[in-house]
C-alpha cells in the first residue's frame, strides 16, 4: 500500500517542521536569492534553480529513470511486436519471440506490461490531480479564513482520513458492475485530498501572518488574489513535492485496488496483471514472468519519483543543500 508516501506529506503538515518558506531564503554561496516575498520568480531565480537542479545527483537520477518509464509507456505499445488480444502458446518463458513470455491464456506479457504502464500513469495522474485540486482549494480556504469554517473543514478532513478507503471502494465497487479508469482515478482523488488539505492549511496558516501578507492586505487586495498571488507562490515548491508524492501513492493505491479485482474492468493495468496472475495460480505453475515484471516496473516508477522528490527538496531548500 501507499501509506508511507503520503505520510511524508503529513509530516509537513506540522508547521513546526515545514520547509522554510521562500522569504527566509538567504543568499547561498554568493548567488543572490531568487524570489523574494511574493514577488514573481525572476529569470535570475530560474537560473539559480537550474544551477542546483542539474548538479543534484538524486534529482537527475530520479528524473532520468522516470523518463525511461514514461518513454516506455508512450512508445511501448507502438513497438510491442504483439497486441493485447493475440493468442499464442500458453505458459511460454521469456524468449526472442515473446520478450516476457506468455500467460495462462497465451497472451503476450510484454504487450500487457507496456499497456498497463500507460493505465497506471493515467490513473496516478488523475488521482493526484483531483486530490490536489480539492485539497488545495479547501486547504487555502481553511487556512486563510480560520475560525468556524476552519473548524468545520478540519473536522471533515479528519473524518475522511479515518474512513478506510479500500473498504469504501469495496462497498461501492460491489454495486457498480463496470468501472473505468476515470472512476478509479477520481475515487483515489476523492479519498486522498485530506492529506493535501492538511498540508496546505498548515502552510497557509503560518504564511498569512507574515508581513508581506499584511502589506498586501493593507493595499486593498482581494483575499482570493492575496491567496493566489502572495501566499501560493511561497509554498509552490512545497506543493510541488506534495503533488509528486501523491502521484506515486495514487499509482500504488490503484495497484492495490486492481489486485483485489476492484480496478478498471475494461483496460489492462499493472495491478490487474498481478490480479490475473494470482487468480490463475501463476505461483504454483511457476510462471514468474507473469507477475514479477509488473511489480518491478511499478516499484521502479514510484522509487524514481521518491528519489527525484528528495533531490528536488534539496534544490528548493537551501538548508538541505549543504555538502
Amino acid at each position: 500500500m501507499s501509506e508511507p508516501l503520503i505520510s511524508k506529506a503529513a509530516d509537513f503538515a506540522n508547521p513546526e517542521q515545514t520547509l522554510t518558506p521562500v522569504p527566509d531564503v538567504v543568499s547561498v554561496a554568493g548567488t543572490p536569492a531568487g524570489s523574494v516575498a511574493g514577488a514573481p520568480v525572476t529569470a535570475d531565480g530560474r537560473g539559480e534553480f537550474l544551477h542546483y537542479a542539474l548538479r543534484n545527483r538524486k534529482l537527475v537520477f530520479g528524473l532520468a529513470l522516470e523518463a525511461l518509464f514514461v518513454i516506455a509507456a508512450v512508445v511501448g505499445p507502438l513497438i510491442s511486436p504483439h497486441n493485447l488480444t493475440a493468442y499464442f502458446l500458453p505458459h511460454q518463458p521469456p524468449s526472442a519471440g515473446h520478450w516476457l513470455g506468455t500467460d495462462y491464456f497465451g497472451h503476450d506479457v510484454f504487450a500487457q506490461l507496456v499497456n498497463g504502464l500507460r493505465t497506471s500513469y493515467l490513473v496516478g495522474a488523475l488521482g493526484a490531480l483531483c486530490a490536489s485540486a480539492i485539497g488545495m482549494a479547501l486547504g487555502f480556504i481553511a487556512g486563510w479564513r480560520g475560525g468556524l469554517l476552519d473548524d468545520v473543514l478540519q473536522m471533515v478532513t479528519n473524518i475522511i482520513i479515518m474512513m478506510p478507503s479500500l473498504v469504501l471502494l469495496i462497498v461501492i465497487g460491489a454495486y457498480l458492475k463496470t468501472r473505468g479508469l476515470v472512476f478509479e482515478g477520481v475515487f483515489i482523488g476523492l479519498t486522498t485530498w485530506p492529506w493535501v488539505a492538511r498540508a496546505v492549511r498548515a502552510q497557509t496558516f503560518t504564511l498569512r501572518s507574515r508581513e508581506f501578507v499584511d502589506l498586501a492586505r493593507l493595499s486593498g487586495r482581494r483575499p482570493a488574489r492575496i491567496v493566489l498571488a502572495d501566499i501560493a507562490p511561497n509554498m509552490a515548491s512545497y506543493l510541488f513535492l506534495v503533488v509528486i508524492l501523491l502521484f506515486g501513492s495514487s499509482m500504488l493505491l490503484a495497484a492495490s485496488y486492481d489486485f483485489l479485482g476492484l480496478g478498471p474492468t475494461n483496460v489492462t493495468s499493472l495491478g490487474t496483471m498481478m490480479n490475473q496472475a494470482n487468480e490463475w495460480s501463476a505461483l504454483l505453475l511457476h510462471t514468474w514472468w507473469w507477475f514479477v515484471p509488473p511489480g518491478v516496473v511499478l516499484t521502479g516508477m514510484v522509487a524514481a519519483l521518491l528519489i527525484a522528490n528528495v533531490g528536488l527538496d534539496e534544490v528548493f531548500n537551501p538548508k538541505l543543500r549543504g555538502q
Binding site: 500500500m1 501507499s2 501509506e3 508511507p4 508516501l5 503520503i6 505520510s7 511524508k8 503529513a10 509530516d11 506540522n14 517542521q17 479528519n158 473524518i159 482520513i161 479515518m162 474512513m163 478506510p164 478507503s165 479500500l166 473498504v167 469504501l168 469495496i170 462497498v171 461501492i172 465497487g173 460491489a174 454495486y175 457498480l176 506515486g248 500504488l252 495497484a255 492495490s256 486492481d258 489486485f259 483485489l260 479485482g261 499493472l270 495491478g271 498481478m274 490480479n275 496472475a277 494470482n278 501463476a282 505461483l283 504454483l284 511457476h286 507477475f291 514479477v292 509488473p294 511489480g295 511499478l298 516499484t299 521502479g300 516508477m301 514510484v302 522509487a303 519519483l305 521518491l306 538548508k319
Partner: protein, 330 residues
C-alpha cells in the same frame, strides 16, 4: 485536556455517524431496485412475480419510506444485529465477524506496533551513522515504492513454492481442527509468519525514512544547539531529538491506520488468511451485502478505537496536552 478529548470524541462520534450513513446509503441510493434484481435471478412466471415481489419487499423492508429504513438500520446497529449472511447462510453476520477478528488482530497489531518501533529505531540510528544511512535510506525507498500486492505474491513464491520453507495460504494446515494443542498452535504460527513479515516490511521503510528526516531536523534545531552550548553530551542531545521527533511520527501513525488496514486486507486475500479481509473478499464474490455492511462498520469501529488509544498515548507522551488540562496554555 478536557477540550482536547471533547474535540476528539466529537470527531469520533461524527466519523462513526458518517461511516454508518455511507454504509447504509450506498446500497440504498444506488440505482436499481434490489428486490427486482434479486428476483431476476429466478426466471419467474409473470403471474408469480407480482405477489412474490410484494412479499419480498415487505420482508426486506424496501417498501418502507427511506427515512424509516434508515431508522431501522440504526435500530439494528445499536442492538448489534447486522442480519444473516448469504455466503455462509444460516450464520449471523456478527458470528462470522467474531470468528475472523482474532486472525486480523493477530496480523495487524504486531505488524503495526513492531514496524513502528523498529522503523523509528532504525531511522534514528541511520541519522547517526553514514554507513547505515547509505543502506537504510535506499532500502527504505524501495520498500516504500513497492506495491504491497506484489510483495504478497513474490514472498510466497520465493519462500513457499521455490524453497518450501513456509506454507503459502490459509490460517492453519488443512485437516486440522481449531483446538488448544501444540500441533495446531505451531501450524497457526507457521502460517502467520509470512503474511506478518510482508506487512511488517512494507511499513518499516516509511517509518525509518520519516524518523531519519525528523531526527536530522531536530538535531539542527535551536533547542539542540542550546543543549550543546550548555555542554550536554551528544547522547543526551540525541535522546531529546528522538523524543521530539516521535510526536509527529505518532500522529502520523493515527492518520495512517485506515490505509494500513487496507494493506492488511490485501495481505489476507493474497495469503488466503482467514481474517476480516478474506471475509470481505468472500462477501464480494458471493454478493453478500449484509456481511459487507457489517464488516465495514466493524472496521470503522476498529479505526476509531485505535485512534482513541493513540490519543491516550499522546497525553502520556506529550506534556503539552496535560498542561492545557491545568489551565495553562502551551
Amino acid at each position: 485536556m478536557r477540550r482536547y478529548f471533547t474535540r476528539k470524541v466529537i470527531t469520533y462520534v461524527l466519523a462513526f455517524f458518517v461511516g454508518a450513513t455511507i454504509d447504509w446509503g450506498i446500497p440504498h441510493l444506488m440505482p436499481g431496485d434490489p428486490v427486482q434484481i434479486y428476483l431476476s435471478n429466478f426466471d419467474l412466471q409473470p403471474s408469480g412475480y407480482a405477489p412474490l415481489y410484494k412479499t419480498m419487499s415487505e420482508a426486506f423492508g424496501t417498501s418502507l419510506p427511506l427515512w424509516d429504513q434508515y431508522l431501522h438500520f440504526w435500530d439494528g446497529l445499536v442492538h448489534g444485529s447486522f442480519g444473516v449472511s448469504i455466503y455462509d447462510f444460516p450464520n449471523q453476520v456478527t458470528t462470522l465477524i467474531w470468528q475472523a477478528l482474532p486472525y486480523t488482530l493477530a496480523l495487524l497489531v504486531p505488524a503495526i506496533t513492531l514496524s513502528y518501533i523498529a522503523g523509528n529505531r532504525l531511522g534514528a540510528l541511520a541519522a547517526r551513522r553514514k554507513v547505515l544511512d547509505n543502506t537504510v535510506l535506499p532500502a527504505g525507498y524501495i520498500f516504500q515504492a513497492m506495491p504491497y500486492a506484489w510483495l504478497a505474491l513474490a514472498a510466497p513464491y520465493l519462500f513457499g513454492v521455490i524453497w518450501h520453507v513456509f506454507p503459502i495460504s490459509g490460517g492453519y494446515a488443512e485437516g486440522l481442527l481449531p483446538q488448544f494443542s501444540w500441533i495446531f498452535i505451531s501450524s497457526l504460527f507457521v502460517h502467520w509468519l509470512l503474511p506478518f513479515l510482508t506487512v511488517f516490511l512494507v511499513s518499516l521503510g516509511g517509518w525509518a525514512i520519516g524518523m531519519r528526516n525528523l531526527v536530522i531536523y531536530e538535531l539542527e534545531s535551536d533547542s539542540s544547539r542550546y543543549l550543546r552550548a550548555l555542554g550536554a553530551r551528544e547522547g543526551l542531545v540525541r535522546r531529546y531529538a528522538y523524543r521530539n521527533a516521535s510526536l509527529p511520527q505518532l500522529s502520523g501513525l493515527a492518520l495512517q491506520l485506515g490505509v494500513v488496514i487496507g494493506g492488511n486486507i490485501v495481505a489476507e486475500i493474497a495469503f488466503r488468511y482467514p481474517g476480516l479481509g478474506l471475509l470481505i473478499y468472500n462477501a464480494i464474490t458471493s454478493e453478500d451485502y449484509f456481511l459487507l455492511q457489517g464488516i465495514f462498520i466493524f472496521i470503522i469501529i476498529g479505526v476509531l478505537a485505535a485512534n482513541f488509544i493513540i490519543d491516550i498515548v499522546f497525553v502520556v507522551v506529550d506534556p503539552r496536552t496535560r498542561l492545557s488540562m491545568q489551565g495553562a496554555t502551551a
